[in-house]
Symmetry: C2
Subunit: 126 residues, 2 copies
């Protein structure tokens, strides 16, 4: 679609994959162990089957997720991370660390970053 100026930016390329809706959630859940399709959908926080199937297929084609069919009937499948997928733990860990440090439980109107140590300014919105 674009990306014509830079030869290859690893960060930008990785971001393109990870910023897709639900991807980071999927990885995060899978980091905890193999999961089934519906189980994964629930654990991600409610990813619908259509999107989940597409994300999973994409991640599988990328070699980040591995799909294992244990039996067609009754249907029993598990998704797990490959080595490349497990390596994303560093990313998820960094995100979680950031969240723990700068995000507060959110009262309801969206998350708010706590600018502790920052914002010497008098204004609000911190």
């Amino acid at each position: 679609m674009h990306t014509v100026e830079e030869p290859f930016c690893a960060a930008a390329a990785a971001i393109e994959i990870l910023q897709q809706k639900w991807v980071l959630h999927i990885v995060r859940i899978l980091l905890d162990g193999p999961r089934g399709f519906n189980e994964l959908g629930r654990l991600t926080g409610g990813c619908n089957p259509a999107t989940l199937a597409q994300r999973l297929e994409h991640l599988e084609s990328l070699g980040i997720v591995r799909k294992t069919v244990h039996s067609y009937m009754p249907p029993r499948t598990t998704y797990e991370l490959t080595a490349a997928g497990v390596a994303l733990q560093d990313v998820v860990a960094a995100i979680e660390a950031w969240g723990k440090r700068y995000l507060r439980p959110a009262g309801g109107a969206g998350e708010v970053v706590c600018t502790q140590g920052e914002a010497p300014a008098p204004g609000r919105t911190g």
Copy 2:
């Protein structure tokens, strides 16, 4: 929309913010220094003004980005990261490291993860 089972998952909350389209790109660019609106749009790889404005406003309300209007006329505004925003460098760095390690320049049919170095398994990535 959801999140009813867990009291507060920092990782999930942070992911909700970061997985929005262009957010990670914006942060990545801003990590390199303050930028103007249109400049930012170009550097992100072509984020359109409508989305960019919305993302910027959201990030600002979150306290991740700080907007500074130097002059209304001629219009001169700069966006830069707050301390919370700069802290995302760890996340971007982790993403970039992962990308460098597991992503290859992509021939054209989408990026492909290279499972080299890892995967002590006998078969191929499957």
